[in-house]
Symmetry: C2
Subunit: 433 residues, 2 copies
């Protein structure tokens, strides 16, 4: 008999099937025993009134690996609409120890440190697993949206000779006897590759040696990066970011409906035109609406972002708001200035429910502009020689953006901590699991 997956059972009503998976739960009600088996995709319930059927499980703990054969019977009251009768259990890998976290309750109740310490098994909980299933679907949706728009996928080096944007917050390593660094982003390489493929994207790890310990930061995360050429300005980039985000949510709806339902997530509507506000107007609005004068600040605080998010919701019914034109002083040296508004840049952030989700903008594209920008930033040109070569030999107006995968999941699922959206988080205190 071929093994089938639990999620395929409904097609086998009236037939005997073979399942394989983990012993997820055992309940007894009167003289009836219910045994729940979990495989990589879902769960199945076996029912028996015969104690002898359960003999193979005697003395074994939950998470024992099993084979289960039984007859598929329609059971409208059960999730999935079917259950197994006349079960026959065969133990594949016995487990004898009690679990460090409870996996068979609907909610994962463990405290955050316990959950993270035991992520190796805690991630087996259906509600934890659903988070990462959505992460996989988000990556797939991201790629599908870009492939449909003639982008090419790249994989760029993570070990680099110099810090990407500044010497701070970068991990240093011993590279065969000389110092090297871990890439803080694929920024330089994705720009260089605009000269090759014109439209590129990358899904990969980025590394930030930030010493602060907040609920919104970890030291290694997955960045969904996009860069493309022949744009007019940052509004072209914002249009693409909107399309990609729309593509991701569409893909989640189409391929991950069960995980969304399990986590009780309602996908946001991405408006055809996401509202936008200039940084200076955003500060004026905050002064006007909230009486707090942030107009001399070079950046938005988390509180500012929440206020702006609430305003977008109230004014436009939108979960999303672009803030454009961030001051040059807070943006990296390769940022393109706003030609019509000195001091401000052709950059943007996309706020999702009042928190930054995407950062992007137009980049400089002329060689002479790079030399001037490095000079202004007080950075020497020599460590950037390879990067600058792209601009010496012709680059079009271009720009791009990056989405933090875990940040997207955290905000979509309204998780209280970014670590809950990270398979095995890396932070100040955590290098394992």
């Amino acid at each position: 008999m071929e093994r089938i997956r639990t999620v395929e059972m409904a097609a086998y009503v009236g037939r005997r099937v073979r399942l394989q998976g983990w012993l997820h739960a055992v309940r007894r009600l009167g003289g009836v025993s219910f045994v729940v088996l979990r495989d990589g995709w879902g769960t199945a319930q076996a029912v028996t009134e015969t104690d002898a059927d359960l003999a193979p499980l005697a003395g074994l703990a939950l998470e024992t690996v099993l084979q289960l054969e039984g007859e598929v019977v329609a059971a409208p009251a059960v999730a999935g609409g079917v259950e197994l009768h006349r079960p026959r259990f065969t133990v594949l890998t016995p487990v004898n120890e009690l679990l460090p976290v409870t996996l068979h309750k609907r909610q994962m109740k463990a405290a955050l440190p316990t959950l993270l310490d035991h992520a190796v098994v805690a991630n087996r909980h259906p509600a934890r697993r659903a988070v990462f299933e959505l992460g996989a679907a988000a990556m797939a949706g991201f790629r599908a949206a870009l492939l449909a728009r003639h982008f090419t996928e790249i994989q760029t080096p993570k070990i680099v000779a110099s810090a990407t944007e500044s010497g701070a917050n970068v991990f240093q390593l011993d590279y065969l006897g000389r110092p090297a660094y871990l890439a803080q982003s694929p920024q330089f390489y994705k720009q260089i590759m605009v000269g090759v493929f014109e439209r590129v994207f990358e899904v990969g790890p980025v590394f930030r040696a930030e010493p602060h310990d907040t609920s919104r930061h970890v030291n290694e995360y997955v960045s969904l990066d996009v860069e493309f050429g022949f744009i007019s300005d940052h509004f072209t980039v914002m249009g693409m970011a909107r399309e990609v985000l729309h593509g991701i949510f569409d893909h989640l709806a189409a391929t991950a409906a069960e995980a969304l339902a399990l986590l009780a997530v309602t996908l946001p509507q991405v408006p055809a035109g996401i509202p936008h506000i200039h940084f200076a107007e955003a500060q004026a609005l905050i002064w006007q609406r909230h009486g707090v004068d942030v107009r001399s600040e070079p950046d938005l605080s988390p509180q500012d972002e929440r206020w702006l998010g609430a305003w977008a919701q109230q004014e436009f019914g939108s979960d999303f708001l672009f803030v454009t034109g961030y001051p040059m002083v807070k943006r990296p040296f390769y940022t393109h200035p706003d030609p019509s508004r000195p001091g401000y840049s052709n950059s943007f952030d996309l706020l999702f429910r009042g928190t930054e989700l995407i950062t992007g903008g137009q980049r400089l594209h002329r060689y002479a502009d790079y030399l001037a920008a490095l000079d202004t930033a007080g950075l020497p040109a020599a460590p950037f020689a390879s990067y600058l070569e792209a601009f010496r030999y012709g680059m079009p107006p271009h720009g791009g953006f990056a989405i933090g995968l875990e940040r997207l999941l955290m905000q979509l699922l309204e998780l209280p901590n970014l670590r809950l959206a990270t398979l095995f988080p890396r932070d100040q205190s955590r290098l394992t699991p």
Copy 2:
């Protein structure tokens, strides 16, 4: 007028179109000028007998970024079947310097060091670009094959607390004041995730601090990793590896025909049943056929692999050959032994045209077996505590494999050096570009 891509021109015969891209080549033949523009997908040729048309290009070098408008005319003798007449050039980004490598000849003639030093521009050459286009298509084909088989994509940490398999060949870094390492492979995490999703894959960077400088090794590469549960033994894994490889080549044929044609690549046939030979029989065969006695060696040499590849070609007409049962002594501690043949393992390599392309096998899955294996290997259990937690709480028989993306490209394209299949290689002497 909307800009179109060069590869879309054939649909616009008789109409005036706008292209954007790089000045790829200029030729004059008698009184006729040919200007080739390259965009992110292909090239287009503009033809004119009017010198005034070329005035905007006066004094500019190749790779100048241009807009080109013209009338699409059928031209059966030209690649692509169309060319542009009555061209109008507009310079977007002027270039004034001569290129460090020649981009407009059919072959990339630069010596390897020059090509690698100037990869930032050398990768713009159509023949170089085609290599990485095939790389992107291979990644897409890999993912498509696995998603169709109910696998889930994961992204696991690259900064780890201890070396994966051995302390040698691992990059050490300063992690916020304490030592950490770069992952040599996602091996432990992909196994752990079998406990969550049962079937997982990952596409990501791996890091090897190998000090040797060969044409087949670099220090950072892209690994296509697969792991799945509920297998019988390594033959189940080999069957999956065969299907995935078949899926990759199918995807290349379906989506990258032009790159394949440009590089004059013929895709190999993946036999429905790839021939296989046990390690011990392979050594006996070499002794028999070549008179070289390697029967006491614990591994195959590159020469052995070439001999076996030639044998598979001659005997079965196959570019592929599985070698199974490598000695336990040369395989990592988590390798499952062959229950019927002590000293040999349930592992395999897949040779492609006489060179190792895929390594895989069945892993241990019982907690007690891991404790014994670590003890045998002389490794302490403590650094592996998180990894071992997966096995304490129930793991099914499982296995997997890994394909080096650059290795696949090198062998498929018959490149003389792995660096030519790597976007920006990292080796003993090279940390830039």
